[in-house]
């Protein structure tokens, strides 16, 4: 199935932020578009996928801003195929809280349909929400939750 799963943090309006509250421990959020989580099937390739995921962020931004303007179903959280490369296909999903999920699958894997990718993202989103509601998790920190990890491994499992 998926060869890489990544969660990217949110972007914050930096200027307004500094002006209004400097005091609180929300400072962690100042890291913009920071990878909160990234797992690959083979750990040696992690760097390569960091690069792939990073590249996809521009496409995510483009899609989100164009989707809000054009009228054809602008409201869905699932963004669809971001871009294909020779070996991989990159899919994206943005939550209402501006957290970005990126999933990379092998191009050779033709059994994977759009609908399956969609359910994969749904599962990932549910796992993320559960993890986020844990009071011991500080928003903006790297994700270390074991339950979340389990969901991701489930997604990357070869079938």
């Amino acid at each position: 199935m998926a060869v890489c799963v990544a969660v990217i943090g949110k972007e914050v309006n930096f200027l307004g932020y500094l002006a209004v509250f400097f005091l609180f421990d929300e400072i962690l959020f100042l890291l913009q578009n920071y990878p909160l989580y990234l797992r690959t099937v083979s750990p040696e390739e992690e760097l390569k996928f960091h690069y792939t995921v990073h590249t996809s962020l521009d496409v995510v931004e483009e899609k989100v801003s164009s989707l809000t303007k054009s009228s054809n179903d602008p409201r869905e959280l699932y963004l669809g195929l971001l871009y294909p490369t020779e070996d991989y296909k990159v899919y994206g999903y943005v939550t209402n809280s501006k957290i970005k999920f990126v999933v990379v699958v092998e191009s050779a894997n033709t059994a994977l349909r759009d609908n399956e990718i969609r359910t994969m993202f749904r599962k990932l989103h549910v796992a993320y929400t559960d993890m986020f509601c844990n009071p011991f998790y500080n928003p903006g920190e790297n994700i270390t939750s074991r339950n979340f990890e389990r969901t991701v491994f489930e997604m990357m499992k070869k079938d």
């Binding site: 209004v20 959280l77 209402n96 809280s97 986020f132």
Partner: protein
């Protein structure tokens, strides 16, 4: 049953306020309010993450505000905001004519000075919710006459 569930949140909230007020050590009113506000902030962030999981993407600022006034408020306080006003330049005023956390207090000068302590958590809640939806803002609350209160939200324009 439903009624007792509603009052549970009231009771917890009252206890939280009195816990912060009676904490040993030096306690300035301002600190109490800030702590309550911060508590609300983190709760608001988490709540909104859960509530918006299945809702479609928001188009703009106003749509987010409407969401807060309708769905979010109903989920937390079992009613909608009574009046939403805006100058379309980042200032929003949310008016609730019968705010749940104030209904148990009688009107009059006696309790007006205590009211801000009971509005700090709700203000934080709003700020946290908006922050997680991508709007950084400041929220202030004031009471006109007892169960009636206003939240003013200011979003700095860049």
């Amino acid at each position: 049953m439903a009624e007792s569930l509603e009052s549970l949140f009231d009771f917890v909230h009252m206890e939280i306020v009195s816990y912060f007020l009676n904490k040993p050590g030096k306690n300035i009113d301002n600190d109490v309010i800030q702590n309550l506000e911060r508590l609300g902030f983190s709760v608001g962030q988490r709540l909104v993450e859960r509530f918006t999981k299945d809702s479609p993407r928001f188009k703009d600022e106003l749509e987010i505000m409407k969401y807060i006034c309708k769905d979010f408020w109903t989920a937390v306080y079992k009613k909608q905001i009574d009046n939403l006003r805006t100058n379309h330049q980042g200032i929003y005023v949310l008016q609730d004519n019968n705010f749940q956390l104030l209904t148990q207090m009688s009107d009059g000068k006696q309790y007006t000075e205590d009211a801000p302590k009971f509005l700090a958590f709700p203000s934080g809640l709003i700020r946290g919710a908006l922050f997680n939806l991508g709007l950084t803002c400041s929220v202030s609350a004031d009471v006109l006459s007892m169960p009636n209160c206003k939240f003013q939200i200011v979003i700095p324009q860049s």
